[in-house]
């Protein structure tokens, strides 16, 4: 085996500790206000009219009967929204076509999936709004539909968009199709690599669309004032994203909208776009009253983005000693009703943990009559990793080699060139493998019908624009204001970093989430960026605050600022002029702030670069019931290079949560459609997400290889842990049964059929 895990030797007073989260009491006591908790005087309640068809042309929409109902104050359709041109612009996490976003929020000429919004109404009660929605008459011409990704790619498939021509192919097609784009990456010469291989494994895989499964449905309250100013209270992963998207969709100035973020009950990527916020503003504008829209769970399933189901083909070649010589993958991802699946990201990530000289990825983005996919932790990566990590497991079996040894032999290290181009800098993948090997889990004996799987995963992590402001209060306490909704405990991380840099007690730092009028622009909470990028902004804001505190201390001492240094939350004079100057604590400087120039604060806005990539390795033990096909996860260990854990408990929580979601993806979750393209399991009873009793305690190991791009070495941690579980579970089941798992979910009926077909039972 290779290197021993690097462990931080530097210790801090606050960074790396586990204090109670600042928002904990409110959440435990039920005081925290989530999206649906906001109420305003005179508020109306909205309801959305949704398509019962998977694919249909809208011939007409008649809202007159609904509007005649007493208590109904407004109805909107696409006619109330600007007909935006099709153009790609910067906006969300990836380039955004706002025409598609607009058409997804409210259909104009066609509905493209069951649940697609066609109109919305506002009335004095939720019941009345539902009654009014039922009175909206929509005349549809039902069209043929297509659900499956491979069927959608066929030349005779029903075409969703008559202006969609495949990009990335040469020559450019002259007819529209459902294939939105082809992208690809090549490294070296795969033909040569496979020619040099002594063992080749090739296999096709399939995964189903799965939902992010956040516990809190989308909810928004909007007002529209007579001066044209709108205010939105909503749950989202980014108040600035909601402001920008809503402004674009309604043709408003960004400055005419203020978005106040609520607490958020999970997002996992699914709240990185808008669905109901523009509808609520449009209804508020038309009615002249506040309007509240809250999605039901059924609406969440039918009309918000799951992540793509995928068809995957992976081929790898290796020498007898296990050294990989070549790897190829083809990925065909469902985008849902509009282009934009994460196929390209799958192609960039699948082979990333490995040093392969010759590799390629071919990625296809395909639309079909499903809700538009949305980001889901490490978008696109888990499906590609399922293919790659499964094939590597099979390769290890063919070679008679330990799957951990195979991975270590080929592990990417600093200097390894990734398939997508650049060479890695400081990374800690090999260290996660070493940690796996020495973990007691790896050597525990297994019983009958039990199997152990191992799989690895990668995510880039990102930085981007973030803002932070620190205000020193008169009593020496501090407020840290940032612009990112706190999903995974980021308030605590921001407070810990601020306390560490300022040198004051964590309890004296109050972290706050500002609305769009209270803090400068911050990109959304996603991509595992907040602790890294916003944390970096907090550190720089603390540095700016310290610079001001030093100036104020110099004024109090009547000395030049260059003779002041900051240590342990106090200003120290370095001037050797015979005068004895006791250090000035922050609280004392704050108490004299008005005498030295006024309030003390520090604010910065940055575009953070230097996000260190993350790698993880998971070990999973399962037991398979050969009579039912049921799979029980017996033991699970998630190991990850986290750079530096600011608050280890929340980092461990990220690893456990990602693993739990990945296990659900592997074992049970799927969208089930009937012959008419209607979703059959749009409830949490029928869409089977894992619950606590389904899972063992998920053990975690935090490997800390510092990221040099962050003051404390932070790497993003939220994406990586959902990448390995699909393959870790599938590899465990494959080894328990002797049958290679090539399709997810591994639900009991599917697995039982596979075992029967293979003659295993």
């Amino acid at each position: 085996m290779g290197n021993e895990p690097k462990i931080f030797t530097k210790t801090y007073k606050w960074v790396g500790t586990r204090p109670v989260r600042p928002d904990g009491v409110d959440k435990v006591m039920g005081r925290a206000a989530f999206g649906a908790d906001y109420q305003l005087p005179g508020m109306l309640f909205g309801a959305v009219v949704r398509s019962p068809h998977a694919h249909a042309r809208i011939k007409s929409i008649d809202t007159s009967a609904a509007l005649k109902l007493p208590g109904v104050h407004a109805a909107v359709t696409a006619a109330d929204f600007p007909d935006l041109p099709s153009e790609v612009s910067a906006g969300g996490e990836a380039p955004v076509n706002f025409r598609h976003v607009s058409l997804n929020v409210i259909a104009r000429d066609k509905v493209l999936y069951e649940g697609h919004a066609v109109a919305a109404v506002a009335a004095t009660s939720p019941g009345l709004a539902a009654e009014a929605a039922a009175l909206v008459t929509v005349d549809y011409e039902v069209l043929p539909h297509v659900i499956d990704v491979l069927e959608a790619m066929q030349p005779d498939a029903p075409v969703l968009h008559d202006d969609l021509y495949t990009s990335g192919v040469d020559p450019r097609p002259t007819t529209a199709s459902n294939v939105a784009a082809r992208t690809g990456f090549t490294l070296g010469d795969t033909a040569q690599g496979f020619a040099a291989a002594e063992v080749i494994v090739e296999r096709e895989f399939k995964t189903e669309a799965v939902h992010q499964g956040y516990i809190e449905p989308h909810a928004a309250v909007a007002t529209y004032a007579a001066d044209g100013m709108a205010t939105i209270w909503c749950t989202s992963q980014g108040q600035f994203m909601v402001r920008e998207f809503t402004a674009k969709l309604l043709g408003m100035d960004i400055s005419a909208i203020r978005v106040i973020p609520s607490e958020i009950g999970g997002g996992f990527g699914g709240k990185t776009t808008v669905y109901i916020e523009p509808l609520a503003v449009a209804l508020a504008k038309k009615s002249g009253r506040p309007v509240k829209l809250v999605m039901s769970r059924v609406e969440v399933f039918k009309a918000t983005g799951p992540t793509s189901g995928a068809w995957i083909k992976v081929k790898v070649g290796a020498k007898r000693d296990g050294k990989l010589t070549a790897g190829e993958m083809v990925l065909k991802y469902q985008a849902g009703a509009f282009p934009g699946s994460p196929a390209t990201l799958g192609g960039m990530t699948g082979f990333a943990p490995y040093d392969i000289e010759n590799a390629s990825a071919e990625c296809w983005d395909v639309v079909s009559n499903r809700p538009k996919c949305a980001a889901y932790r490490a978008p696109g990566a888990p499906m590609a990793a399922f293919g790659v990590e499964s094939v590597l497991d099979e390769l290890a079996q063919k070679l008679g080699m330990c799957p951990l040894e195979l991975r270590m032999k080929n592990a990417a290290k600093a200097g390894t060139r990734a398939l997508y181009g650049p060479k890695f800098l400081d990374i800690g993948y090999a260290e996660t493998l070493t940690a796996a090997q020495v973990h007691p889990h790896w050597s525990m004996p297994l019983g009958p019908h039990q199997g152990r799987g191992i799989a690895s995963g990668f995510w880039f992590n990102v930085g981007g624009p973030s803002s932070a402001a620190i205000h020193i209060n008169e009593d020496g306490t501090a407020e840290v204001v940032t612009g990112n909704p706190d999903i995974g405990g980021s308030r605590a991380s921001m407070a810990l970093m601020a306390a560490e840099v300022l040198g004051i007690d964590y309890a004296k730092v109050k972290p706050m989430i500002g609305d769009t009028g209270q803090i400068a622009y911050s990109f959304l909470t996603g991509g595992s960026r907040v602790t890294f990028a916003t944390g970096k902004a907090v550190c720089e804001a603390a540095d700016a605050t310290i610079a001001e505190l030093k100036k104020r201390a110099a004024k109090l001492w009547k000395i030049d600022g260059q003779h002041v240094e900051w240590r342990d939350g106090q200003a120290w004079s370095t001037l050797d002029d015979g005068t004895d100057r006791a250090p000035l604590p922050l609280a004392k400087i704050a108490a004299n702030a008005s005498k030295t120039g006024g309030p003390i604060s520090g604010a910065v806005s940055i575009n953070a670069a230097g996000a260190g990539p993350g790698f993880g390795t998971h070990i999973c033990d399962v037991e398979v019931d050969p009579e039912t096909g049921g799979v029980t996860v017996l033991r699970y260990t998630a190991i990850q290079d986290v750079g530096r854990a600011i608050h280890p408990a929340y980092v461990e929580g990220q690893l456990q949560g990602g693993a739990a979601q990945g296990i659900g993806w592997a074992l049970n979750e799927e969208y089930v459609y009937d012959a008419k393209g209607r979703l059959q399991n749009a409830s949490v009873l029928d869409y089977r997400m894992p619950v606590a009793s389904d899972l063992p305690m998920i053990d975690t190991v935090l490997v800390e290889v510092p990221n040099p791009g962050h003051p404390f070495g932070v790497r993003g941690v939220g994406e990586v842990p959902i990448v390995p579980p699909l393959a870790a579970v599938a590899n465990a089941v494959s080894r328990a049964t002797g049958v290679r798992i090539d399709a997810l979910p591994i639900s009991p009926p599917r697995l039982l059929k596979k075992l029967v077909d293979a003659g295993k039972v």
Binding site: A90, E93, A378, P422, N461
Partner: protein, 82 residues
């Protein structure tokens, strides 16, 4: 001179198949100006909404990031997470 490494598809279309280009440029904006001068249409094909990796570090919205004489530059899709 900095090395700009293109994906093979772009190289095939715009640089006569030459995937590794050598450019003298002090910063990113100078580099893309020189690329566009030499290979008209290349930067349009790469697109305005793209990320760039300079010596392994990914930038999402670069402009004046310095380019060293021995730098390696890759264009890549923007990365959106969940």
């Amino acid at each position: 001179m900095a090395r700009v490494i293109l994906q093979s598809e772009l190289a095939r279309r715009y640089t006569g198949g030459q995937a590794t280009l050598t450019i003298v440029a002090p910063d990113y904006s100078s580099l893309i100006a020189e690329l566009e001068r030499r290979y008209p249409g290349l930067m349009a094909a790469i697109g305005a909404h793209t990320a760039v990796a300079i010596d392994g570090e990914i930038f999402h919205d670069p402009l004046h990031e310095p380019i060293a004489a021995d730098s390696e530059v890759h264009f890549m899709p923007l990365i959106g997470g969940g």
